[in-house]
């Protein structure tokens, strides 16, 4: 049960955006990051990727090391000087920047700047739907997929329907929803290694749920979840594969 959806912002369509790739995309899913930028460029936008970027600071923030998180978050602040949207291909990192940065910087000399940067953060699918109102033309073969909603996309960014709306635009894609779509996959950052057995049980339930949809692909917007789910699917020798939604959409548009 979510709170009533706040009124949709009706932002003006910018001609240029910043892209914050996130450290997980950088190291493990760079193609998803490129696909995200391609989707934005295909809408006629200029995409800027500041090369100085690294991480939003979430790992240390959630581990209790706030000063270290602050140091890393602070190092990102000057990379986005223009008053332009910052698009992030991850609900979790976007949530860190949007929801937690103001708290993290509270009382710091650069609080105002952090709040200003934070206010410009968008999760990728949220931006594609709410700001760009994209129309997708599916050129791919018929396929059945399911959608894995990340906890932070849903509950910190309020992104629930946007990614599914994008998938439903694709004529040859059949979206079968998970029975327990809202349930966490068990990643939780350091949780996965701090409580590996519980995490394994959680991702086990998630894998069962995915298998029951009969989908060939599980699409998600968060690379933490994807590392976890893909690792478990592969570890269990399951034929299903997880893919970042940006990459999936890009593939569909190119056939």
């Amino acid at each position: 049960m979510t709170q009533p959806t706040p009124p949709r912002p009706s932002p003006t369509r910018p001609s240029k955006v910043y892209f914050f790739g996130t450290c997980l995309v950088d190291l493990f899913f760079p193609d998803a990051g490129m696909a995200g930028m391609d989707l934005l460029k295909a809408q006629g936008l200029t995409v800027v990727f500041p090369q100085g970027q690294s991480c939003c600071g979430q790992p240390a923030y959630n581990s209790g090391y706030r000063a270290d998180a602050l140091k890393v978050a602070r190092a990102q602040l000057d990379l986005f000087p223009g008053d332009l949207p910052i698009v992030v291909p991850s609900g979790s990192c976007a949530g860190m920047m949007k929801k937690h940065w103001p708290h993290l910087f509270h009382g710091e000399p650069d609080e105002a700047k952090a709040v200003q940067v934070s206010s410009r953060v968008w999760e990728l699918t949220q931006f594609l739907v709410q700001v760009l109102d994209v129309k997708l033309e599916d050129k791919g073969e018929p396929v059945r997929v399911t959608w894995h909603a990340s906890c932070h996309a849903q509950r910190e960014m309020g992104v629930v329907e946007e990614p599914k709306a994008l998938l439903r635009q694709l004529a040859n894609v059949e979206l079968v929803e998970l029975k327990r779509e809202k349930e966490c996959c068990g990643f939780g950052g350091t949780f996965a290694v701090r409580h590996p057995e519980i995490s394994a049980a959680m991702v086990g339930d998630k894998v069962d749920d995915i298998e029951q949809t009969g989908a060939k692909r599980v699409v998600s917007g968060d690379c933490g979840c994807l590392l976890n789910i893909n690792g478990a699917l592969e570890g269990g020798h399951k034929p299903v594969q997880g893919q970042h939604i940006a990459q999936f959409l890009k593939e569909r548009l190119h056939g």
């Binding site: 049960m1 979510t2 709170q3 009533p4 790739g21 450290c23 995309v25 950088d26 190291l27 493990f28 760079p30 193609d31 490129m34 200029t46 995409v47 800027v48 990727f49 500041p50 090369q51 690294s54 600071g57 790992p59 240390a60 923030y61 959630n62 581990s63 209790g64 090391y65 706030r66 270290d68 140091k71 890393v72 602070r74 190092a75 708290h103 906890c151 509950r155 809202k182 349930e183 966490c184 939780g188 950052g189 350091t190 949780f191 996965a192 290694v193 701090r194 409580h195 590996p196 057995e197 519980i198 394994a200 049980a201 991702v203 339930d205 976890n228 893909n230 690792g231 478990a232 592969e234």
Partner: protein, 479 residues
């Protein structure tokens, strides 16, 4: 409660949860029960606007009560006393147990019957009374079952939710002379009722919890489904009620928002079968009701929680247990794995503050921070933010929380320092990510962390070129 020290041995949640995970019956019981409870709750709040409004109202009732807690507690004491309810203050669970023992001795009590009370679980009251030769019998069906089984409640609302009908039938057969082998809920309930009925008549003292205590009228509100609460509070000649000091509300009008949201959130019921409002013992000329009512108000660390503006929100809790039902960790391991009076999300923030971070430092980490609990909490407790704060306290020496800094580790602090240095300098980041891209996949799976990760998963594969590399190659502008 016994004095705790920083050296107290940590409770090993990981080991206990591992055992729970290996029990397919237990996992099945929890999965089914929690799925059912989540569905029932969702039906109650199908109207998003109504949910939003009810929740805002209940949260405001609790916030207002906390904002003037000292004043309301004084008022509660004055009004209870005026009504003939004797008020006792206990700063520790040891003090609370001693108060109870005094009363029991004075009235020469041999048998107490109890309605559900989580505060008495904090006190380990049953074991304490048993040591003093007094029987304390749980009269809530679920509590009765776990007491018979010699275990603890696994859920604050549904104490025996970890057992199915078949398991309960076997337990009754083993422990109750007249029990027959009938695996039928109606039969088992009937049997327990017959046994308990006799005990209610013979008990010297009745005990209960309190869902809300009204300061302006000195009224104790108690909600329940089985009527055992009413029996415990009306049949025996002495009634002892227990509450944590946060349970006070300001006015009688503040009660409905709380007691209507509580069962909706907990069990998906619009209201409980019984709503008891207790304002005084038997008066002159009245034919029934207890002759004495005592109210034990327990602190047990709550005033320290209250002293911190951020942690104070922990005390908004109305003990509905919905956070447990929706917690993906709780639904996997069940309540016993926490080895604490309060399991699940609320337990993970409350128990470490009561018992200290030396003993309970792992609890705030047994959480993926998914926020499912925050989404459904009827009084909007920022559970995950408090969890994050306790993770900070666990590694930062200080006095904000009992045993702050108990988990401080030089090695871990150095790792994060190194991580921060790498991520705060573009040059260091570039070198480090290049190294990971080139060499990361050669890391042996036996390495710490990777070993845990690969227990059920394949190794994460580093891409040969980073997004930074690809963006540069494709000429994506940097500014």
């Amino acid at each position: 409660m016994a004095e705790h020290h920083g050296t107290e041995a940590p409770v090993n949640f990981a080991a206990a949860s591992k055992a729970a995970l290996l029990d397919p019956q237990l996992r099945g019981n929890f999965r089914r029960a929690m799925d059912g409870l989540m569905t029932k709750r969702a039906v109650q709040f199908a109207d998003a606007k109504e949910w939003h409004d009810m929740r805002a109202l209940a949260a405001s009732v609790r916030l207002r009560a906390l904002s003037k807690l000292p004043e309301l507690l004084e008022k509660l004491e004055a009004n209870c006393t005026r009504n003939g309810i004797q008020v006792h203050w206990a700063s520790t669970t040891d003090e609370a147990n001693a108060i109870v023992l005094d009363i029991m001795k004075r009235v020469d009590a041999k048998l107490a019957v109890k309605g559900k009370s989580m505060v008495t679980e904090e006190m380990h009251l049953n074991a304490f009374l048993e040591e003093h030769g007094i029987e304390a019998l749980e009269a809530d069906l679920g509590e009765y079952i776990v007491q018979l089984d010699g275990t603890m409640p696994s859920h604050i609302i549904m104490p025996a939710i970890h057992l199915n009908t078949k398991q309960i039938a076997h337990l009754f057969k083993r422990k109750i002379k007249e029990a027959e082998s009938i695996e039928d809920a109606a039969y088992l309930t009937g049997l327990a009722r017959r046994i308990l009925r006799q005990k209610f008549m013979n008990a010297d003292v009745g005990m209960s919890g309190v869902n809300a205590a009204v300061a302006e009228t000195g009224t104790l509100c108690l909600i329940e489904n089985e009527g055992n609460g009413r029996m415990c509070t009306t049949v025996p000649p002495v009634h002892i009620a227990f509450m944590g000091l946060e349970k006070v509300v300001e006015t009688l009008e503040d009660v409905p928002p709380v007691i209507s949201l509580l069962p909706r959130s907990a069990t998906g019921q619009p209201i409980t079968t019984y709503v008891n409002m207790i304002t005084s013992p038997r008066k002159e000329g009245e034919l029934d009701g207890p002759r004495e009512i005592h109210l034990v108000i327990l602190d047990n660390g709550r005033s320290s929680v209250y002293a911190d503006a951020e942690l104070r929100d922990t005390l908004r809790c109305i003990r509905c247990g919905a956070c447990m039902n929706h917690c993906p960790v709780y639904t996997k391991v069940g309540g016993h794995a926490y080895e604490a009076p309060y399991p699940g999300p609320i337990g993970k923030i409350l128990v470490p503050q009561m018992e200290g971070l030396a003993k309970r430092g792992e609890m705030p980490h047994a959480c993926t921070m998914c926020n499912a609990c925050v989404e459904i909490c009827p009084v909007k407790i920022p559970i995950v933010e408090i969890m994050g704060r306790l993770r900070v306290e666990a590694v930062r020496p200080g006095d904000a929380v009992k045993d702050s800094g108990a988990q401080a580790s030089k090695t871990e602090a150095m790792v994060w320092k190194g991580w921060a240095a790498m991520n705060a300098s573009p040059m260091a980041y570039k070198i480090a990510t290049m190294a990971m891209s080139k060499l990361g996949n050669a890391a042996p799976t036996g390495l710490p962390l990777l070993k845990e990760w690969t227990s059920v998963r394949t190794k994460p594969r580093f891409a040969s070129r980073t997004l930074h590399d690809l963006a540069r190659e494709k000429g994506i502008p940097d500014v």
